[in-house]
Symmetry: C2
Subunit: 388 residues, 2 copies
């Protein structure tokens, strides 16, 4: 199967920018990616936009045409929404278009504004990613749902808050030198454990922040890159998607995520690799427990084993399997619809040697992105490889 | 290019069902389509969901997984949103998956609840399809935007409210015997002209209604249909998409819709047909003026000429080019995210001979759907043909 080659990437600073609109953020990320690719805007055949809750944050749906205008193109533009996996799902549609010959050049971007949520706050907005009837109206929030998953994990597999604290410490350490990350500060295990509770066992530093930001990537076919002399050192060689029941209570298990497993298996098979070929990865650590579940769902650890991965240094920058070298959602920030695209931009920079943590992946050739929606009712995985 | 064959279709009654949830409506339409196709649920490889404003109408985003559960499948599920073109855009992604070999069997459905909008009403919800900064905050609504387009049309090309009234009369006449249509009643030109104004020149009967409903279609590859002995008398042979500036004020013209033109041209070329091959079509008549603009944008009439098409009987059921034999958005109803899928289900039934208006298309072999978002900032066109 043909690959989708990455010709350019762009990302805004992630942080708190209540004065910036979605179109402003998206425009900056898109312009950066287009400039990075060195292509003319007229060459872009299609645009995919990942956005989760523009309707609630800025009274704005129908973001396809709006974001096309923001980057100065008039290509057919489509918005994809899968909660916090919106960005990754947009990447997936773009990848399919490129490798199936539907398009030679596709711009895919994601954007979210989260500091404009009025009386409900970001947590109220995020609630539409869960099952309104059987979760939200019963009073559960996302921190609450992940807290249940963590409590259940401790009960079934063991582990404790200190194990999870190492996940946060690791991801903050990785973000410390990332100029686009929301939090460029290292933290200690003690700081995580002493932080105010959000929904125990999830404390403030177990939780990804509220973030405004955007990210974008230009994907091209191999033929197009060759014909136009584009440098595309990295390609997306595999894609996979999984879906599970939306409500946590309708799952067989609260500590196993079949959507992640399905997405991973499909992506490995699609790329013709096994998980043993993967050198490093970005996973969806919206809460510290989520990183643990992702590493198990993707097959890197047996059930109940990933809880100590960060603590034992296996997933740190100098470990055998670096995870979230960008800082992850936890420290880089989590502008929901942008996250899945930002994972691709960060891995591309890591591979290209223009990321502050590139030294950690000097000999690497295969990486993964894992982006999840809700309590992993949706998951999408991409395999990125250094192009031959 | 391979075609996506239609193995089954389903649709709920369109109307006012404030007591029914989106999942309930979608489940009914999906179950009907799956039963109609005669396939096992496990055979479905992917689900696409068209929905516009679930976040506002039922505090519910992330509808991919929710609707997968509603129809009892666990296939990868993705929601597509392009305002009132959400359904058609979902169909487009499904068509691409089938013909590119990404999937053998895809379920695509659309759903919208519009009678649960609280204090803002449906018009408030619909506003997120327009440009929030440059349209909604300036006080314009969708009836107002289409009223501007109609006034401008009258000024540039001539025509009057009575011409447009014939569009509404025609579409109500077509819906009169459609058991799933919201309004199964004929109306007169006088009734249209005497109706209360919404935003002049658009009166109550120039406007599509507020509707709850869902529609679904099962698409399969030709190979799959053959191997499994499925009857697929109709196939989608072409798809096209167009995008324009979101805000009406940022267009070159208020009476020409380049997104429709682009979508039509791409779809014709993709199917290897010309507009002269088209026997009948369903177009996006959210307001009477929208049907006129669609017929011109698709190339069936020169600019300024489609205004009298209904009045002169050219687009009536017994005319040369029947338009909106289902009753259209105007009389069948317009549950926004479902509309683009419903157009496919209605044309399929018309071709198969199990529609009340099938007699009007007895010798027909080529039909079109045209689904638009906002003031046609998005448009998607599909070519449907009687399968060989």
């Amino acid at each position: 199967m043909a690959s989708a080659h990455i010709a350019g990437v762009g990302m805004t600073e992630f942080g708190e920018f209540p004065e910036r609109t979605g179109r402003d953020l998206f425009g900056e990320a898109g312009d950066t990616a287009i400039d990075d690719a060195g292509i003319d805007r007229e060459e872009i055949d299609a645009l995919y936009v990942g956005n989760f809750m523009g309707e609630l944050s800025e009274n704005q749906g129908h973001m396809g045409p709006l974001m096309a205008k923001a980057v100065g193109i008039d290509a057919p533009a489509t918005r994809v929404e899968s909660a916090c996996a919106s960005g990754g799902m947009a990447v997936r549609q773009a990848v399919k278009d490129v490798r199936n010959g539907e398009a030679d050049v596709v711009l895919v971007g994601g954007v979210e504004r989260m500091h404009n949520m009025g009386t409900t706050g970001a947590t109220g907005g995020l609630s539409v990613a869960a099952d309104d009837l059987w979760e939200i109206r019963q009073g559960i929030t996302f921190p609450g749902a992940y807290a249940l998953m963590a409590q259940r994990y401790f009960a079934v597999h063991g582990g404790d808050r200190e194990d999870l604290a190492h996940v946060a410490v690791k991801n903050h350490a990785n973000a410390a030198n990332n100029p686009l990350a929301q939090y460029q500060t290292e933290i200690s295990v003690e700081k995580v454990l002493d932080a105010p509770p959000v929904a125990l066992p999830m404390g403030l530093f177990d939780s990804s922040p509220i973030t405004d930001g955007a990210a974008a990537t230009v994907l091209v076919s191999e033929e197009y890159a060759e014909e136009h002399g584009l440098e595309t050192p990295v390609a997306i060689t595999g894609t996979g998607q999984g879906t599970d029941n939306l409500a946590l209570a309708e799952r067989d298990s609260m500590v196993w995520t079949p959507a992640t497993e399905d997405a991973g298996q499909e992506a490995y098979e699609d790329a013709g690799i096994s998980k043993d070929d993967v050198d490093f990865l970005e996973v969806h650590d919206c809460f510290t427990i989520a990183e643990v579940l992702a590493l198990e769902g993707l097959g890197f650890y047996d059930e109940g084993e990933a809880i100590t991965a960060a603590r034992e240094g296996e997933t740190t920058a100098d470990g055998d399997l670096p995870v979230n070298l960008s800082g992850g959602l936890k420290a880089k920030g989590h502008p929901v619809g942008a996250t899945g695209v930002a994972q691709v931009t960060e891995i591309t920079k890591l591979f290209r040697g223009d990321h502050v943590n590139s030294d950690a992946v000097e000999d690497a050739s295969v990486a993964l992105t894992h982006n999840a929606g809700g309590t992993v009712a949706s998951a999408v995985v991409h395999v990125l490889e250094v192009a031959e």
